[in-house]
């Protein structure tokens, strides 16, 4: 196996607001070249914190206390603002969660799509616009000229998400961070966007960190998956293995709580209380261990 493009090593973070409550507990994961890696967990599991830490937009009440995020061997957390700004957009791009707020409502699509191309690729206005048009065609937008002229509120949610995907892939980044990119869309649109996303990713050989709470989506798109609970990695492996034969009780509970499209009559199972108790005991044991090793 070649060296991973992204390697997160023992990433640890605490919340400054809740008296130093841990948010990430020594999270490690690796994303290989052209691999789509799913990062799954319920809300509050720390998925977004990981994504934000990579993009240098970590909220002020969260502090990273240990570990590193190595992108092609360089630690993103140790970089200066200038170094990180250089890499962002060019090598690492974000597909945000909510297409309704991630586009600037006061600027036309062409201005927003060409920003990055002009800033990071040094293209002229005309070149950038030509490239933006080609990008919209690549994300299967039928009428790119009209879309380029439009304001975001004139486009549907699915169209906006296509535009955002075009913007993210537009600079041919090596790594795309997708922060629940389909959560805000209806299921039919979601499916098209996922196919499109996967097609683009395969064509460009992009590595993807795909943050999601939806195991159905992860099953469709991810090669490998990391299951996170309360900031601790519960299970990691090839998507097929993890979803077909989960080892960890939490993964099983998560799977039981997901809707099954192939068996719509089967009810959703809430996480059994004994599983939650066991999970909490596991987290507590980990924290004690971490504290002891920290003291020694």
């Amino acid at each position: 196996m070649t060296a991973p493009r992204l390697s997160i090593e023992a990433l640890t973070a605490i919340s400054l607001r809740d008296g130093g409550k841990p948010i990430l507990r020594k999270v490690s994961l690796a994303v290989g070249v052209a691999e789509v890696h799913g990062l799954v967990g319920e809300s509050g599991a720390g998925k977004s914190t990981i994504a934000k830490a990579m993009l240098g937009i970590i909220p002020s009440q969260v502090r990273v206390t240990g570990g590193r995020i190595a992108f092609e061997g360089r630690d993103l957390l140790a970089m200066s603002g200038r170094e990180l700004r250089e890499i962002l957009g060019r090598d690492i791009a974000l597909v945000p969660q909510d297409p309704s707020t991630a586009l600037n409502p006061a600027r036309r699509i062409d201005a927003q799509l060409t920003d990055g191309l002009r800033l990071k690729r040094g293209l002229s206005a005309a070149e950038a616009r030509r490239r933006a048009r080609a990008l919209l065609e690549e994300v299967q937008i039928r009428d790119p000229d009209r879309v380029l002229r439009s304001y975001p509120h004139q486009l549907s949610g699915g169209m906006r998400q296509r535009v955002l995907i075009a913007a993210a892939f537009g600079l041919e980044p090596k790594l795309v961070i997708a922060d629940e990119p389909t959560t805000a869309l209806d299921v039919t649109v979601q499916k098209q966007i996922l196919r499109l996303f996967r097609a683009l990713q395969e064509r460009h050989g992009t590595s993807v960190l795909f943050v999601s709470h939806d195991l159905g989506v992860v099953a469709q798109i991810c090669d490998r998956v990391t299951v996170l609970y309360m900031g601790k990695v519960m299970e990691q492996g090839a998507t097929v293995d993890v979803l077909r034969a989960p080892h960890h009780a939490y993964t099983k509970a998560l799977l039981a709580a997901s809707p099954r499209y192939d068996r719509p009559d089967s009810g959703l199972e809430p996480t059994p209380p004994e599983v939650i108790a066991a999970l909490q005991a596991e987290i507590a044991r980990f924290d004690v261990g971490a504290a002891e090793s920290g003291d020694g």
Binding site: L88, I92, L94, Q97, A106, L119, K120, R142, Y151, M159
Partner: protein
Amino acid sequence: MEHWSPTATIADTGPRPPSVAVRLARDPKVAVAGGFIVLLIVLAVAAPLIAPKDPLEQNLLLATVPPAGFAQAEPGYLLGTDGLGRDVLSRVIFGTRVSLTVAFVAAGLACLIGSLLGLLAGYLGGLVDTVISRLVDIWMAFPPVLLSILLVAVLGSGLHSVIAAIVVIDWTRFCRVVRTETMGQAQMDYVVAARTIGFTRPAILFREILPNVLPVLIALLTLEMGIAVVVEAILSFVGLSVSSDTPTWGGMIAEGRQIVHEAWWVLAVPLAALFATVVAFNQLGDGLARSLDPVLRR
């Protein structure tokens, strides 16, 4: 991926939206109020050509002549004469010069200073925000009319002092509104998205946030022009604006007040001009706010 049909599912975006200029012209508020302001600008610029008489020429034999259509009206004095026999119409026309100069220059400068500080406070937050916000709080504790009279008294009367007084007092309006608006916009995902493609903070502030604050800013600027016209009239009324041989609406109102029982038109005509101008600025501000907002517009 074989049943992936590229065109079947894409929502239509509808016909091409009309341009900003067309949309503005279609808004009745903007069209009427804006038309009136344009008329005022023409009057101010071309006053010597348009005014039928010299606004300063006195004729004591023709003092307090009533407007055309009333008994004892004189031909050539459409809106009558004042106590010194000067033509009211010509004086009102020349009065637009001072009013509009103050409206545009004072409101423009107040807008520039206030919104720059507001953008910085709202975007940078922290100590910068604290300092600017406290300054605004302290500033707004002074009663504005008294403060402006005090300022003009200290600076000496004249157009520059009037403008300075309005700017010094009213920048806080812009600062407060722009700060709040900027804070709201800075939380939006598109700002985060701009950071993740590596934009610097000044670039985000001026390229991403400012266009979203602009509709509010333009509306506020227009309203402030109306306010500036009133403040100038107040200062003219109490004799603290330009010297008395330059016709101003406020000055005319002050003169007309003394002879209102004999010649009501000397008071009524500049008052009507002032009223119409302020209403026009306010309506224009309203209409612009509605038409320029990218989310509300259709």
